[in-house]
Symmetry: C2
Subunit: 543 residues, 2 copies
């Protein structure tokens, strides 16, 4: 998720400042410092124009790190370090001087790049509605050389551009022992112990591995949505991270911590914020997203399935019931169908603003209610949502499923789900209706595959939406189509040079951004890490 919304999209809710001390204490109890390890740059590179490539750049070797250590740098020298892969952490180096005297500070600018364009383009002209203070550059002044410089802020990068803004006529500077103190909740030992995917396809092996790197680098003291920018715990991202985590690193403690953090900041109406702040102290964000709120119980359910920790489910049961209240308030009293316009609250689903949300939200909420019902069964509680599930199941077909009727320019003859007066057909409506098991599995599979091949159906913009679609394909048995999505969409990022999966990927537009300018995009984003989960535990590929 993003750090802020355009004012037009933000519905102001009264911000809850309440923090439940008991629940927060449980979250605190599950705090664990991150693991730290050292990574070094592999060489110094530069980029030359290459119109045929995704980023319009070709990476070229410039010098080795050993050579760099013996290369004095002066005013206007400019170089790019390549750390070989994505890292999250703290840069440090020993800054020496060559020349007669260090008679002036050394002024350096650093730009931390997740992708090549981060370190080749001017950042100052970035035209984005989210904060430009997230742009990954930093100017430092070092007064006394030689000295060890430990940069205090955490950055997320593969590349580091170093610009020598000035030394003096009397000396040039020398970089030695450049390294990053990389951090993650996942230790290198755990990371390296994950067995390779049981598959032959080299692209799928890469997709699986890059999913893991993406997840590792987003797992810090909370599940962050993206280590480059927000660095916060968002509920929608958390679900995908937790699922992929169960298939790989199995850090159950971190999931539990995050669940209790959300529970601790529930508002008085029971609703949960779309994200929470860990620093300086636990606090709810004012961002509210109806679908994220609804998903809380799903995340708890999936946690219990992975952990068998029924005690946590019991402790969080009231929070789950509360979190479904606002979503349920959107149901039409007569038809039982989800009507987004009943509130102005934000229904996110994916960043594409063209998406009509009703059908997808209907499927999503029904899916969430069913998981809550499943959890009640596990806990031996009376089923709380049987009636509404029944009404919504009926409404799913009576209101949203279009049979043999052609309306508004869209094709309904295939028995597809439509949303809104324009009868919009989208991948996400079908994905969520599939996950809600509104139709028999084979029927879901048929229409999902049909929509997938329909060039007029609205596709998701971000991997968050694509992940839901891929999940739906896998769960209704369209394994081959799921694999092809993983190879085409996520594999498409790999083929375009991704070291970690991106927040936004439109194969037709390398500069697409939900924020007005791709220079503020995140390129290691939690909601993009699902392939490792889908491949290993849903498709059970090769097992």
């Amino acid at each position: 998720m993003a750090s802020a919304l355009p004012v037009s999209q933000t519905v102001k809710r009264k911000l809850s400042l309440h923090v439940d001390k008991d629940l927060a204490a449980i979250a605190d109890l599950h705090y664990r410092p991150v693991y730290e390890w050292v990574e070094k740059p592999i060489n110094v590179v530069h980029f030359t124009p290459e119109p045929a490539s995704w980023f319009k750049l070709e990476q070229v070797h410039r010098m080795s790190i050993d050579q760099l250590q013996n290369t004095p740098l002066g005013k206007n020298d400019d170089l790019i370090l390549d750390f070989g892969s994505h890292r999250v952490g703290y840069l440090s180096f020993y800054l020496d001087a060559a020349g007669d005297n260090v008679d002036a500070p050394c002024r350096l600018r650093f730009v931390f790049g997740e992708v090549p364009t981060d370190v080749t383009e001017d950042l100052s002209s970035c035209n984005t509605w989210i904060s430009t203070s997230w742009l990954p550059d930093e100017v430092i002044n070092v007064d006394w050389l030689p000295c060890q410089v430990n940069m205090s802020r955490r950055y997320s990068f593969r590349y580091v551009r170093i610009q020598v803004l000035d030394t003096s006529q009397k000396y040039r500077c020398l970089f030695a022992n450049i390294q990053v103190r990389a951090t993650s909740a996942v230790s290198p030992a755990v990371f390296n112990a994950i067995p390779p995917l049981n598959a032959e396809d080299p692209l799928l092996l890469q997709v699986d591995k890059i999913s893991q790197v993406t997840l590792r680098d987003c797992m810090q003291t909370v599940f962050e949505d993206g280590p480059r920018r927000d660095r916060r715990l968002w509920l929608g991202d958390l679900r995908i991270q937790a699922l992929t985590n169960y298939s790989t690193f199995r850090d159950l403690k971190l999931v539990k911590r995050c669940l209790f953090m959300f529970a601790a900041v529930a508002a008085s109406d029971g609703s949960l914020p779309a994200c929470v702040f860990e620093h300086p102290t636990l606090r709810a964000a004012s961002d509210y997203i109806v679908d994220y709120d609804a998903l809380f119980g799903v995340v708890v359910y999936e946690y219990v399935m992975a952990s068998s920790d029924l005690d946590t489910a019991k402790a969080l049961w009231p929070t789950i019931l509360g979190s479904l209240r606002v979503p349920l308030s959107h149901l039409d009293p007569e038809t039982g169908s989800f009507v987004s316009s009943r509130t102005e609250l934000w229904k996110f689903l994916d960043w594409d603003e063209r998406l009509h949300p009703d059908a997808a939200m209907h499927g999503l909420l029904l899916f969430c209610l069913k998981r809550a019902e499943d959890l009640a069964a596990l806990l031996g509680y009376p089923p709380p949502y049987t009636d509404v599930i029944k009404r919504m199941t009926t409404a799913a077909t009576s209101v949203f499923l279009c049979r043999g009727v052609s309306g508004g320019g869209s094709r309904c003859e295939d028995g597809l789900f439509t949303s809104g007066p324009e009868k919009q057909i989208s991948w996400l409506s079908h994905a969520w209706m599939t996950l809600a098991e509104v139709l028999p599995s084979d029927q879901s599979k048929r229409i999902l595959v049909s929509v997938m091949h329909d060039p007029q159906a609205l596709r998701p913009l971000c991997p968050y939406g694509w992940a839901v679609f891929a999940e739906a394909l896998a769960k209704c048995g369209a394994k081959q189509e799921c694999v092809s999505i993983l190879k085409e969409y996520w594999g498409g990022m790999v083929e375009r040079g991704a070291d970690t999966f991106w927040e936004c990927f439109d194969p037709n537009d390398s500069r697409k951004s939900p924020y007005g300018d791709c220079r503020n995009n995140s390129y290691c984003h939690a909601w993009s890490c699902s392939p490792a989960w889908l491949l290993r535990d849903v498709l059970k590929l090769g097992y």
Copy 2:
């Protein structure tokens, strides 16, 4: 002095890396941490154009600090704090937030201004041959608000410009408890205990007080030339600072420390660097200035006169003899006159490059030899320079004094000192010949006053040169003229708004700079602090 030289002016000498451990240990023994105290800004101001004023600006009250504390600031907000007077130290503040959430870092730019133009003009276009890394601006990113921010670098300023580069749409920032941890070797108690000058003239009272503030802010763990930029111990500046210190704060320990720092880094030919570096460890600068080298013995002599510390003079006696060797090597073997062109080594005297140095250097070296001779007498040592003093005294008049001869367009008929083939007449030639007591005092006074009123005579550019001229006036009995110089030149800075005395002051050009751009000038400069010494101990005004 400045932090570097244009390449054309720098004669490369082999840099001595030798540090005499015993002498350095004595310097270390006299290290004392600076005093620290807290100062607060007095209000928020802005500047409006005012073509009639020196800086072309008029300062206008904008809001109180109390109001500022309740004024949330967002993207592009820009304000200037006025601390009321010059401070050297470390800025800190409590950075709070107003709004829903701090969902992005707060990116702030600070510019520390000694004079109004520092905080009103763009610094990035500064075109200077010394390092732009001295420009007093800093960009910081604060990740988690609210928090206390303690800026780690020391700055020198009266004004602080704060530019909010970005917060986010969700919050604005609030500044509370802004303060500077001011530092000096001079404690507030000592500073405040200095009795006012025994004089009526309000301008002279101000000149005296501002001299003291200038000196205080340059006195740190060494006598710095200027706290804004070089922050180093330069020999020429040290003489003026030490003398003014004897008349005011009387920190003898700091002078002794600095003398031993120079002695510890003498080169194998006996010469002393023009300045030394204290950090990260004691080291000679590669800058070498013949006149600064020659002055070392003078500084020791004047220290002994102030302290009666003959042991130090004994310990430093070999250093004094060594420091005169390179200067003496410039004497013409036949005439005994100083011939600058015998080496390409730098003769500084003042920043005006039009100055022909021979006559002034001759007077300066003769002055230095006489003080060494005086010191030998105090120590009971045989007089080492009697012969050369005799020869140089003769040469001073036979070579440089022009009697009734008119040459090169200059007027020599008054019995003035000239220098070079163009027979240049300058204030500095006469000032140093006067201090060297080449002529009887009344004759010196007559020609000094005559030169002072000669519009064609070359004046000094910087207060360093003006200080020598004022000293010469005072010492030959031209007290009234000295006072008028103090009032016109130093008083001229006061009338133009100086809080501390400037490194460079040309009353006809507010943007004059030895460095190509006044935005890299220092406005609190050691070599400008002499009025308090001249008024109190040379003119003995009103005592």
